[in-house]
């Protein structure tokens, strides 16, 4: 613990440097929560946001491994993931708008057939 920190910190048994596995396990937890939201929620917009949560979790893994390998490649990959997520959000939300206009509902259980 640096002594110049203004607030006196409690003397917790924390490691001096965060192990890489902590970042990866946080990523796994966020990904699992995203899958859970994807499976349990019935609002189509919330399902879509769960997908974004999964993409974010994977990005954290990319950046953590990039630190481990001391290389910028993981950052480039997570940058591409962000760009594709932006494109996906634009198209996906347009699809949601169209679905809502044709069926007046956002519940995915009521949008189970392709034809009206």
């Amino acid at each position: 613990m640096p002594s110049e920190f203004p607030i006196p910190l409690p003397n917790l048994p924390l490691p001096d440097a965060v192990p890489l596995s902590w970042y990866l396990i946080l990523s796994a937890i966020l990904f699992t929560l995203g899958v859970a939201g994807f499976l349990f929620r019935r609002n189509i917009i919330t399902v879509f946001m769960s997908i974004e949560l999964m993409l974010n979790a994977v990005n954290l893994s990319f950046v953590a491994f990039s630190y481990h390998l001391k290389s910028v490649d993981g950052h480039i990959f997570s940058f591409f993931v962000m760009v594709i997520a932006a494109a996906e959000a634009a198209v996906g939300l347009a699809i949601i708008l169209t679905v809502f206009r044709n069926r007046q509902t956002l519940e995915i259980d009521e949008v189970s057939s392709l034809k009206l």
Binding site: P2, A17, L53, H75
Partner: protein
């Protein structure tokens, strides 16, 4: 100090993610997702990714989430109704997801590279100059392909949002 910052923002991220899954109203879920993205941006900074942290805040927490909130408000989305059916998928999926998480955590603990402690300032190659150099030399072809993908996405969004589809 590093561990304290990591634990704080990891707890915020996990708490917001749990809130995202548990809330029934989409606008509450959207705000929780903004919380997850903000705390992940802090973790990117701790990992030395200044550019990625800035892009995370501007593109993800800014642009994409504004799009989400805009659509939620436009469609006047209400809270989910309580389901009548017994939630069979919860009975099946929760143990499966828990098993998946424990398996992944075990694999990470046993297989992840030991000896790498993440300290702030341990990796300084994630600034805009380094990203730009890599993007326009090694990754020039994926970069150009991405621009085509975005063009197609724009066209698709315009076609889908027309009145008569």
């Amino acid at each position: 100090m590093d561990a304290l910052l990591f634990l704080t923002f990891a707890a915020i991220a996990v708490g917001c993610a749990i809130n995202l899954v548990l809330q029934t109203h989409p606008i509450a879920s959207a705000l929780s997702l903004v919380g997850v993205m903000g705390s992940l941006a802090v973790l990117y900074l701790l990992l030395g990714g200044e550019f990625i942290a800035a892009v995370q805040m501007i593109v993800y927490a800014g642009a994409i989430m504004v799009l989400f909130v805009f659509v939620i408000m436009l469609l006047n989305a209400a809270a989910e109704k309580k389901t009548r059916k017994p939630a069979l998928r919860a009975v099946v999926a929760v143990p499966l997801l828990f098993t998946f998480l424990m398996l992944v955590a075990y694999l990470i603990q046993t297989q992840a590279p030991k000896g790498t402690g993440v300290k702030f300032g341990g990796f300084t190659g994630g600034g805009p100059a380094d990203i730009g150099r890599s993007l326009f030399t090694t990754y020039i072809l994926p970069f150009e392909v991405t621009s085509v993908v975005i063009l197609i996405a724009i066209l698709g969004a315009v076609v889908l949002a027309r009145k008569e589809v």
